[in-house]
């Protein structure tokens, strides 16, 4: 097992390098310079001042030198200083990560809690009316534009019915609350965003679960279980489910980039101060160090998620380690 983990960790190095190259290329090959914005809105900025700015940010050096400099700083987790408020990029991202990860974690749990039963029951009743309706239902979740659903829910649940708060992650008088009230407050604020994000992700897991289950139910050992007279319930929940659940771990890892990417939309709509909103704001204000930092860290989180998924998969399924 340790050998397997080590091998996977070494495999990460080229991927991390690739991530840094693509991030760097995306930012630096685009037309315009990071200093343009600072200079553009200020007609007094002379050519010399512009060159001085370029020099401060190292933009007068050749691209490959800039890249290597940046990479050296990255290796020390130094992502530079934000253009907008001169704070270290890493600090800005670090305070946003728990919020985005928390929401995504909550929505993943919700997806699993709803998606797995839907997938299993659809597979058991394959091609029935129930199966067809569930297909349409989960695809409806996938097809509804997140921003549209968010706005409608905000309007109905938040504004018309007044049931849930519609923006931010805590109330204004949050500090006066007792700890129980604080938890309730956060849950109330995050209920809609988590629901919206989970509804969209339902199709992936439940469809995947369904096809695994359909496949497993046709295996020889299920026929054997039937032959020895086990009840259908035991067959489905004790024998088939365990085997069909395994690959779901991998698909969870794969769904991370989509979830993080989707956070841009609902975080801007619900005014949640997470990574998605930080990214959107930085893109709008051309805050290059933050843009690059979020891209690298977002991709890094995906790598980490995939690694964890693969390791836990290898831990429960001994066949994986033996491959290669």
């Amino acid at each position: 097992m340790i050998k397997y983990i080590l091998r996977r960790l070494i495999g990460l190095v080229p991927l991390l390098l690739g991530i840094s190259i693509i991030t760097f290329a995306v930012i630096h090959l685009a037309p315009g310079k990071p200093t343009d914005l600072e200079a553009q809105f200020n007609p007094k900025v002379s050519l010399e001042a512009r060159e001085r700015l370029n020099h401060i940010y190292g933009l007068d050096k050749p691209l490959h030198i800039q890249y290597i400099d940046w990479l050296k700083r990255l290796s020390r987790f130094d992502f530079g200083i934000s253009f907008t408020d001169s704070r270290p990029v890493i600090a800005k991202i670090a305070e946003r990560i728990p919020i985005t990860l928390g929401i995504n974690l909550a929505s993943i749990i919700l997806i699993l809690l709803i998606g797995i039963p839907i997938g299993v029951s659809s597979a058991v009743k394959e091609k029935s009316f129930y199966d067809r309706s569930m297909t349409v239902f989960v695809f409806a979740g996938f097809a509804i534009p997140t921003f549209w659903l968010s706005l409608i829910l905000m309007d109905i649940v938040g504004v018309r019915w007044g049931l849930l708060p519609v923006s931010g992650i805590k109330s204004l008088d949050f500090d006066k609350f007792t700890s129980v009230e604080k938890i309730i407050d956060i849950v109330r604020h995050l209920a809609l965003p988590v629901f919206v994000s989970a509804f969209g992700g339902l199709a992936g897991i439940s469809r995947y679960m369904r096809s695994n289950m359909v496949h497993v139910l046709k295996q020889d050992y299920i026929r054997t279980a039937r032959a020895k007279g086990l009840s259908e319930r035991d067959i489905v929940y004790k024998h088939a489910l365990k085997n069909a659940l395994l690959p779901v771990v991998t698909i969870l890892g794969l769904s991370i980039p989509g979830l993080i990417g989707g956070s841009v939309i609902f975080e801007s709509i619900f005014s949640i101060p997470g990574m998605g909103r930080l990214f959107y704001e930085s893109v709008m204000s051309r805050d290059y160090p933050v843009i690059m930092g979020v891209l690298v860290i977002g991709a890094g989180l995906t790598l980490l998620g995939n690694l964890l998924a693969d390791i836990s998969y290898a831990a429960v399924d001994p066949r994986i380690k033996l491959e290669n």
């Binding site: 097809a143 993080i260 979020v294 977002g298």
Partner: protein, 264 residues
Amino acid sequence: MNKLMVFGAGIVIFFAIAAILAPVVTPYDPGKIDIDNILTAPSREHILGTDSLGRDLFSRMLYGARVSLLVGLIAVGISAIIGVSLGAIAGYYGGFADVLIMRFVDIMLCFPTFFLILAVIALLEPSIVNIMIIIGATSWMGVARLIRAEILSLKERDFIYAEHAIGAGDFRIITRHLIPNAMAPVLVSITLGVAAAILVESSLSFLGIGVQPPMPSWGNILSEGKSVMGAAWWMMLFPGTAIFITVLGYNLLGEGIREKLLKS
């Protein structure tokens, strides 16, 4: 043909015809401003109501369908061309090319795609052409993996050996024999890709960095609808429903094709 496929195809064809016939069907010019009829509710004159400049929503929706569908289809076309070429090269030649291309795929898959799209779009100009290219350039990885896997098994088949024996070149074998035979699973991925591309375009337009007004797209109509949400429900309801139903249509069609392929 299964029910999913018929249902999905029905929706897809309906919206495609609506988009193509837009100039014939629409009662008004989609850009015609009518300040006497600002934000009127659906009525006999304006069956879906008017927007905050008095423009006919039904006409804007149909022209918006053209834009949204066109972006979806061309973006997926681009992603299919990149994915099929890279996947075919990786699968057919193997070795260093394969390692290089598949590592590139792995790396691209790490990025939260929407972040990447957002960054590039904002740094370039948010024009309709740029949107198509960027969506295409960030969504080809699945197709590349599928094609590669198919070609890996196809290239060991007898009919390919026969091609080699009669002296066919690599290019001919790849384009005439391998790719056509490997396209079936890609078709599913392409159909689902159109749905995803339409969603991305509408999200970008909604955030104000997609298709730019006055050119209508379902996303930017919604973006405007958001600001008049309390006063004009039709500005939110109709474009949102159109996106929803279209995306659902492409998804169900893709799923239907997948089921059909699994059976055969």
